[in-house]
Amino acid sequence: MTAPLIAFRSVSRVYGRGEAEVRALDGVDLTIARGEFVAIMGASGSGKSTAMNIIGCLDRPTAGQHLFQGVDAGALDQDARALLRRHFLGFIFQGFNLLPRTTALENVELPLIYKGLPAAERRDRARAALARVGLSGREGHDPSQLSGGQQQRVAIARALAGDPQVILADEPTGNLDTHRSREILGLLAQLNADEGLTIVMVTHEDDMAAFARRLVVFSDGRLVQDGPAAAGAGGGAR
């Protein structure tokens, strides 16, 4: 049996010490397989962002194991985890987090620079990624010349360009109106359905979570619900 893509083995994450101790995650077990589209929900402070940071190899568990393709990612050093992020993970953020005064194409090329690809190949792959999110012809635009929805598409293209195993989306529609949000979620759902891309998404909106196929809910650092996502408005529209 091959190792699951992502696995938490009684993961805890504790901030501070003594009186000020905060248990952001408290013995969480979670397995995410290749090809899933998982929505993580929970109130503010429930631990969902901490879980996301650990999945994204930006943070590590205080106790327990975070396995990525069977490798104990929490035990790796900083540089090794940077390499995991570079080669296997793609990030999409609430605030888009594009580099300002840098063209869409250059933004998408960024992860490929760190992958050490030659300039010509970078350009081709970045163009292809922009085409996949429907932004052909906008390569030379600055983020400031693009709408919020378009900026998030550039961010998705950036996440896709590195050819990752997982896309990690942290509140990807938090800064967008409902119409744009649906477009973005539709795009993610389509990437998941058509290409089998694994997607893990944090959200606090039920109708956005409905685009996912599996729903995981956190509360007070514990996993309180795990099952198929309700076929809501978004899911039904698909």
Binding site: G56, N97, G116
Partner: protein, 401 residues
């Protein structure tokens, strides 16, 4: 990868062009000042050496009074006489000895006048000073003896008094003395002190003594030793002769001095080197200040770009790569400043060399050193900001507004 980083750094610098220029101004001024100082210093050293070489080796200067270097009060020792100069000239080791007295007077021609230096001497002076005539002739022994009203003039005097015309045979007036120009001195340019040697009139010393100064004193005696005589033995012979002529008891110190021109030259070169070093180190301090300026701006830049750093770390940049990025940026910035400084320094030095009439002698070694050093300044002062960037926690950095 490094080239990519350099390109990225250039792009970032271009984006904030005004700030970048202001940031490197310290380095520009520092490097510029060092380059200008060193270049001018070397030029003037070269000048001093050229002066001494043109004077000929083995040239000594005799002056009455105890040994004093440079300007200052001399004790009232008895002055030299023309016979002293003749006696020195008769020494076996001496090639030529010229008595010299001088005065500053206004020379008047038909259409112009000029205040210039009047040197009274003999034609032996031309031998000692290794000076030729561009036209005409030197004084004859008869003219020297009689104190005839004849003179040799420098190029500057000739141009001022007689324009482009031929000065030979013309007459110029010094107070009540009408003097016929018999020779034109070959142009020599300025001395190390910036004195124009072509701005002078030479006449037989007797003429100057009788018709202008009204004394029979000789201010200095210039001596050229024969090539086969060592400076030390030449000085010894002259000292012995002069002590005898001045009737000094054995216990008495010399009441005159014999100075070797080479000694003066090495002293001047020494002063030059010390001054250049001193000024350069002051200039180097401004390079240090420039480095601190770079550090300051890089720290600001790192803070401003916290989010960018977070993004880079999140998408897979290693800490080392972020460090390199900011370090390269600081070095590129600083090297740009260094290159601008080198250009500025060489420009200033060229200008100063022209004004001071010294050779413009840029030293490729010093230029290369300044280039490397400016890069080093960037690396040293860019390190702390770069390390701060590299050590950021990506989660915190991404949250930064």
């Amino acid at each position: 990868m490094l080239w990519e980083t350099v390109k990225l750094a250039l792009r970032t610098i271009r984006r904030n062009i005004l700030r970048s220029v202001l940031t490197v101004l310290g380095v520009v001024i520092g490097v510029g000042a060092v380059i200008a100082m060193v270049t001018v210093g070397q030029g003037s050293s070269a000048r001093v050496q050229a002066d001494v070489a043109s004077l000929g080796t083995n040239v000594l200067i005799l002056r009455p009074g105890k040994r004093v270097m440079g300007p200052g009060t001399r004790d009232s020792a008895a002055p030299f006489t023309l016979r002293d100069a003749e006696a020195v000239g008769d020494l076996p080791g001496v090639a030529a000895a010229a008595p010299v007295s001088s005065s500053s007077l206004t020379a008047v021609s038909a259409g112009a006048n000029r205040t210039t230096q009047i040197t009274g001497t003999t034609s032996a002076y031309l031998t000692v000073a290794n000076w030729r005539l561009a036209a005409g002739r030197a004084f004859t022994p008869a003219e020297e003896k009689a104190g005839a009203a004849v003179c040799l003039i420098g190029k500057t005097v000739s141009q001022t008094l007689f324009g482009t015309g031929d000065p030979l045979g013309e007459t110029l007036r010094l107070r009540t003395l009408s003097c016929t120009v018999v020779g034109l001195l070959q142009p020599k340019g300025a001395t190390s002190f910036g004195q124009d040697r072509d701005d002078q009139i030479m006449m037989p010393i007797r003429t100057l003594q009788r018709r202008i100064l009204g004394t029979s004193d000789v201010a200095t005696i210039m001596v050229a030793l024969r090539d086969d005589v060592s400076t030390a033995s030449g000085i010894r012979d002259i000292e012995a002769l002069m002590r005898e002529r001045r009737r000094l008891p054995a216990a008495e110190e010399n009441d005159f001095s014999v100075t070797d021109m080479k000694e003066i030259a090495s002293m001047l070169t020494g002063i030059n080197t010390v001054l250049t070093g001193l000024l350069s180190s002051v200039a180097a301090v401004s390079l240090l200040v420039g480095g601190i300026g770079i550090m300051n701006i890089m720290l600001v830049s790192v803070t401003e770009r916290t989010r960018e750093i977070g993004i880079r770390l999140a998408i897979g940049a290693e800490a080392r790569q972020v460090l390199t990025q900011f370090l390269v940026e600081a070095v590129v910035l600083s090297v740009i400043g260094g290159v601008m400084g080198i250009a500025l320094g060489l420009g200033l030095a060229a200008l100063a060399s022209d004004l001071m009439a010294i050779p413009f002698a840029p030293d490729p070694g010093v230029v290369a050193l300044a280039f490397v050093f400016s890069g080093l300044v960037g690396a040293v002062f860019g390190y702390v900001p770069a390390r701060r960037a590299a050590r950021m926690d990506p989660i915190e950095a991404l949250r930064h507004q």
